[in-house]
Amino acid sequence: MTATADRPTTTIFRRPSSTTGLWSWITTVDHKRIGIMYGYAAFTFFIIGGIEALLLRIQLTQANAEFLTAGAYNALFTMHGTTMIFLFVMPTSAALMNYMLPLLIGARDVAFPRLNALSWWIFFFGGIFLYSTFIFGTSAAPVGVDGLGGIDGNLAPGGGPGSFNFLADSPDAGWFGYQPNAGPLYSPGTAMDYWALGLQIIGLASLVSAVNFLVTVLNMRAKGMRLLRMPVFAWMTTITSFLLLFSLPIIAVALFMVTFDRQFGSLFFAATNGGDPILWQHLFWLFGHPEVYILILPAMGIVSEILPTFSRKPLFGYSAVVFAGAAIAFLGFGVWAHHMFSSGITPVAQAAFGLATMTIAIPTGIKIFNWLGTMWMGRIRLNAPMLFAIGFVAMFTIGGLSGVTHAVVPSDWQQTDTYYIVAHFHYVIFGGSVFGLFGGLYYWFPKLTGKVMSDRLGKVHFWLMLLGFNLTFGPMHWLGLQGMVRRTWKYAPETGLEPWNVAVTVGAFIIALSILVFMINWFTSRRRGQESGLDPWDARTVEWMTPNPTPEYNFAVPPVVTSLDHFWHLKYDEDVEGRAVRKDDADEIVASIEHEQLHPASPIHLPNPSYFPFFFALGLPLVFYGVIYHLTLWGKALILVGAVISLAAVIGWAIEPLEEPHLQSKGHEGAGDAEEALTDG
């Protein structure tokens, strides 16, 4: 219900004030809503990326299959990788970081709420822009290039059913866009422009988020929450934000250079004119390697929250885990050329980067041993979040071990461009990040909804996914070492690779089934799940010191933190041997916390909703559509229109105050929905 009261207009348009309905979501600056939107969008892309993977797997089940044409195959593996990395894992991490970070540090919101909304809308429009390539993109065969004989990968040599040829007009030069293959000469058409500009837009969203999260952590922690008392997930968010801050500008430059090559005739990567293809690889991987730590660190943070809670023990070696995370990030900037061992860099460079890569195993090992030490002698509860966390530790270790084998340079020469590499990175990204993120979703589901997910269905999801995952990616180690080549649409029957490929495909469909189980669990639990109460997991950290679902204002009274695992120490004492003993009045303490947080003593100011982030974000893809078609009149017009919209939004934003002084949020009467009418006075 909206209360519209008279307010002076400080902008051309009246300040939005609704708290329900579509418009309230479009103008929200609440980190929790933004996190929810990120989550649903990311999951949608997960499904799409999964379908892309299943199509790839169907093609590869049989030797010499022609279910897909080569062109369609290339497009699918390109979009599968691009989607999963940039449109699924990163935004799911963003969803959890957005929702949880302020709660983990005892704050009411992030430092820049409107900028937060801007990040989300930029990502949203960027994802749509990127995917619109399937509708608008074109991809033709290189014409007049010596030695290629006019091969068009879009044509199925023998025809064949279901060639999915419409896919072939999409980006098809790999998620890593190696040059000059992805340049204007060898990838004519617009598909790779959608790829480059789409990533450019999405990268901007993450850069803005990084600045936001860093200022939030540095300046908005609750009283007493010194940096080394922050929950580990808050630390990993911080470190990830530093990685984003310093790596994204590099890929931004590289993508601009590609766009200039493709659209404006520059010669950065034009090999026939002296451009250097290796330059692209350096710039891409300078970003690309920190990127993989961006993918894994948030999940490591989640696991570091779940394991102590469900082992009923503190995290073993908290400081070591934090510093190891920082070390991984720091070292992660120095190893990028291990993606280039077979590209012709000098032996000295190969040795240096190989050695540097091995050193990352040290802080990683520290974390793994500390996680094991956390569980050791703990009173473990195997709820769904805990299963995913343990699964993370196991699967990530396997992926890490294969990673160490890549660090041995001559070994990598054998492995590179084979399915062995595919196995490695899926074990760390899927077995690692994705398992960890699912754990986080199960763990923090009560905060969003006030309910717990069905633990039974959660276990079904976990075991099916674990089985399917290992059946899919385990055999790939062997397939790769037997010489099955990556990014190649078919293999000959004489290679003997078919039987295990059949197993891999079966595994992939089992994964799909497990995701279906998760979706059923999510939607039925939202509606009919068991009420969680304030503290369903008997947790340790301050995000659990506020009712579920989270009130709009997060904390009526911000916690005053006196130690690491502050919440735990409110509920538990230690006996002479250091074991935790629940206080007699722990339940009363928890109940009083819930009561206090549900009933603020006086009205709480919250940042007001705003139109401007949405409109600023809307202008960007318009400009980039215009860039792609800039040779036409309407392309030029689009650039102008998009720029004007964004500029107008910036001006409106600059003039608009963050808070209208007399719009306030009333306190909650009950732990109902997270929406609350804004009223006067």
Binding site: N219, R221, A222, V253, G265, L267
Partner: protein, 209 residues
Amino acid sequence: MAELAHEAGLEHAHPEHESTGVENRKLGMWLFLSSEFLFFGALISNYLLYSNRGGFSGVYPAEVYDIPFTSVSSFVLLMSSLTMVLAHNAQSREDHNGTRTWLFATAALGSVFLGGQVFEFTEFIVGHDMTLGTNPAASAFYVLTGFHGTHVAIGVIMLLSLWGISRRRGGLSDKHGLNLELVGLYWHFVDIIWIVIFTVVYLLSVPPA
């Protein structure tokens, strides 16, 4: 006492917060500027790579530079940092007329610099036949200096916006005063990037033998 989420203008070190003591927006701007080193570093490295690589057809940028001209425009940009800091100083003394004068002067000097860039590029394209697509060294030069110029242009827009707000409201509030300081940081950063570019790209650049 009612808990306030965040002030729209000033950020004090709330006793309720653990904080660095630096206002949110200022900290944010410094973090952003730190990342810009990676951005311009890539562009400068790219220029160093190609400007030193022999064998390209067409002219190399170092063959067509007009050092006296560029020296003057570099001086202009450098002096705009002075006017910028004088604008900030005037704002801190609530001398609103002075603030506006110095803001306008900074924007004017920045525009003169941009005009010089446009003139210089035109000379290169028309007079020396060095375009974006002449060779990779030329591509690197134009994209590096072009992005720098774009940053300057965005800075000019921000300066004129502050000037306009100050005129309309008879002076900048505390909130906008902080924004002036932030625009100043951005402006100086763009200036120091040019300090590097002027030396590395113009003064030290020699076409390969």
